[in-house]
Amino acid sequence: MPKLKVSLLTGRTIDQGKGKEMGKLSKEYSESVVICQMDPNDMKFLGIKESTNVKVITDFGSVVLKAVKSARVPHPKVAFIPYGPWASLIMNPRTHGTGMPSMKGIPAEIEPAPNEKVLSLHDLLGQFRKEGQP
């Protein structure tokens, strides 16, 4: 399966900002943050179309997201994910003594994952466990 090495950015989008104010449990919010914006040529390279699921892998974890064409191109080998619980799964927690984790410019790999599902918020939180609980 083709794999693509990218530099991963995270940040705000206006949809994420609006969705957040609609409520973190709203459909608007989750739809606005489970996406990975990519360069159309990179998508071609991976052989995927708009809204195909992809798996984004970093040294710190992996997450399945929906690939979408970004509106402003070109940005070859750069992918963008809006802030949110899904992006947090693959962020670099190291702060290099500043208190600040690295959330932009993280080396990552993207591969098509048309058969894998995007986690729902419920399932995502289900991965977190309280101490002493199963």
Partner: protein
């Protein structure tokens, strides 16, 4: 029906104070002047909310009385040896003040969202110093506006309109018209390109990687805007010139500008993906402006180099001031994150990441900052207010946070409140409770109370005071 004017918007750091709300029977029915984000908050704030305090029993969150929840929260904090109290940037200064008192009482760590946002900027400002100003000055006088690693169109939607390019200042006119005509050009180029792609099946209009010359508008004597970012954004499209920098290369680019401004030679052909001729032209525009401002976003603090990137930006402004007047300001995200820094600083001497475990305030970001504490798994309880770390912290930190007792004070239902052990639904400050907040340029403005909160939702200040009171009582009983 009444119309309330001069309302401040409790959403982003722009902290607009010209919002008008139409209120009917204690419900906000219409919003004027706000952007999409602000309007979404005023109109939808009450859709996803808890109305009653919740306490976790046998693994399930169940409704409880306020007193019961206060008691449980106080017990958690008293039993903990190293609790963290985190959030604060979305509440009022009055609540933050009580929060500092509570942290001192329980010997914990208090930290605000600066730590994952402009914390490195604060560190750098402490090292280098900052030449800054209020936004009003810029509105009237700034003729060269830089947005570096920041995308106000999405994160601070009215910033450009209220304070910079599209604001009508006394000495500087709005550049709105010029933008509209440029936008027309961009749109028709996009349309042509789409058509060409369909018909010819190849990209004849592909934009070149970097335009080799600055556009004419950059040399005119009027307001101009330059955007430096790793990706093209709406803000970049609105700019007179967009400089695309390679990810993690901001430091190089800033230092290159510093060299050019000091008349030093660059013996390379490009820096961070930008040809040196372009850099020289932009540096000339910087030196030639009357009043320049560099707004920088978390693109600098979150990428490689972190505070050192900000060092370079602050030093660049300093260098520029030997030629002209140039100022710099961080684009703070939440509406009162500046207030959180300010209140922490006047209460403890430090702006964030403050550790009270020795009985006196200590400050050592990297050690006493929440992400580091959580990654080392040292905290044994936490109180989160008006923030959602479960959604926004890196996975390891979030996991360690939720496995220990967690108290959440939040008007909304968020991933953090879903994972908490005690949840206090609070009143929305700025809508259902009043207070004070600091705009990104350190101007304090009032937060208004527009409608009555539901009976069971107390303001943050009161919830914290009740917890503090109970903590003191429990500790007295223990001794």
């Amino acid at each position: 029906m009444t119309v309330v004017t001069g309302v401040t918007c409790p959403v982003c750091g722009t902290f607009c104070d010209d919002i008008e709300l139409v209120v009917k029977d204690n419900v906000i029915t219409d919003v004027r002047n706000a952007c999409a984000m602000g309007a979404a908050k005023f109109l939808n704030y009450s859709t996803h909310r808890n109305l009653r305090p919740l306490v976790r029993k046998n693994g399930e969150l169940v409704e409880a009385s306020i007193d019961e929840a206060v008691k449980r929260a106080a017990e958690i904090l008293v039993d903990a040896t190293y609790p963290i109290l985190y959030g604060w940037s979305n509440t009022s200064c009055e609540a933050i003040r009580v929060g500092v008192e509570l942290t001192e009482e329980v010997g914990g760590v208090i930290d605000n969202t600066s730590t994952v946002c402009h914390g490195p900027s604060v560190l750098s400002i402490q090292d280098v110093g900052i030449a800054s100003c209020t936004l009003g000055q810029l509105r009237h006088r700034a003729d060269l506006i830089f947005y570096w690693a920041s995308n106000p169109w999405s994160a601070h939607p009215r910033h450009i309109e209220r304070y910079t390019m599209f604001s009508e200042g006394r000495f500087q006119k709005s550049a709105w018209r010029g933008y509209l005509s440029r936008l027309g050009g961009i749109m028709s180029r996009k349309r042509l390109r789409r058509a060409a792609n369909l018909v010819l099946r190849r990209d004849v209009f592909a934009t070149p990687e970097v335009e080799r010359r600055l556009p004419y508008s950059m040399f005119q004597k009027k307001r101009k805007m330059v955007v430096v970012d790793v990706r093209n954004t709406r803000t970049a499209e609105a700019a007179d010139y967009f400089l695309q920098v390679e990810p993690n290369k901001d430091y190089e680019l800033l230092q290159a500008f510093r060299m050019l401004i000091r008349d030093e030679e660059l013996d390379v052909s490009e820096v961070a993906g930008v040809p040196v001729e372009i850099l020289e032209e932009v540096a000339d525009v910087m030196v030639g402006c009357e009043l320049g401002i560099l707004f920088f976003g978390v693109g600098l603090t979150m990428s490689e180099g972190k505070l050192r990137n900000v060092d370079a930006a602050l030093n660049l402004t300093r260098d520029l001031n030997s030629h002209t007047k140039f100022l710099i300001m961080p684009m703070r995200g939440h509406f009162n994150v500046t207030g959180a820094d300010v209140v922490f600083a006047w209460q403890t001497g430090y702006p964030y990441a403050i550790d009270f475990s020795h009985g006196y305030p200590r400050y050592n970001p990297g050690e006493t900052s929440v992400i580091d504490i959580l990654c080392r798994d040292e905290a044994d309880a936490s109180l989160i207010i008006a923030s959602d770390p479960v959604a926004h912290f890196p996975q390891k930190a979030a996991q360690n946070l939720v496995k220990k007792p967690l108290i959440a004070i939040d008007p909304e239902v968020t991933p953090t409140t879903l994972m908490a052990d005690v949840v206090f639904p609070s009143a929305f400050v700025g809508i259902e409770a009043h207070g004070t907040a600091y705009r990104m340029d350190h101007v304090p403005l009032p937060l208004k109370k527009i409608v009555e909160p539901p009976k069971t939702c107390l303001p943050d200040t009161e919830i914290l005071q009740r917890i503090l009171h109970k903590v003191r009582k429990l500790r007295r009983e223990q001794n």
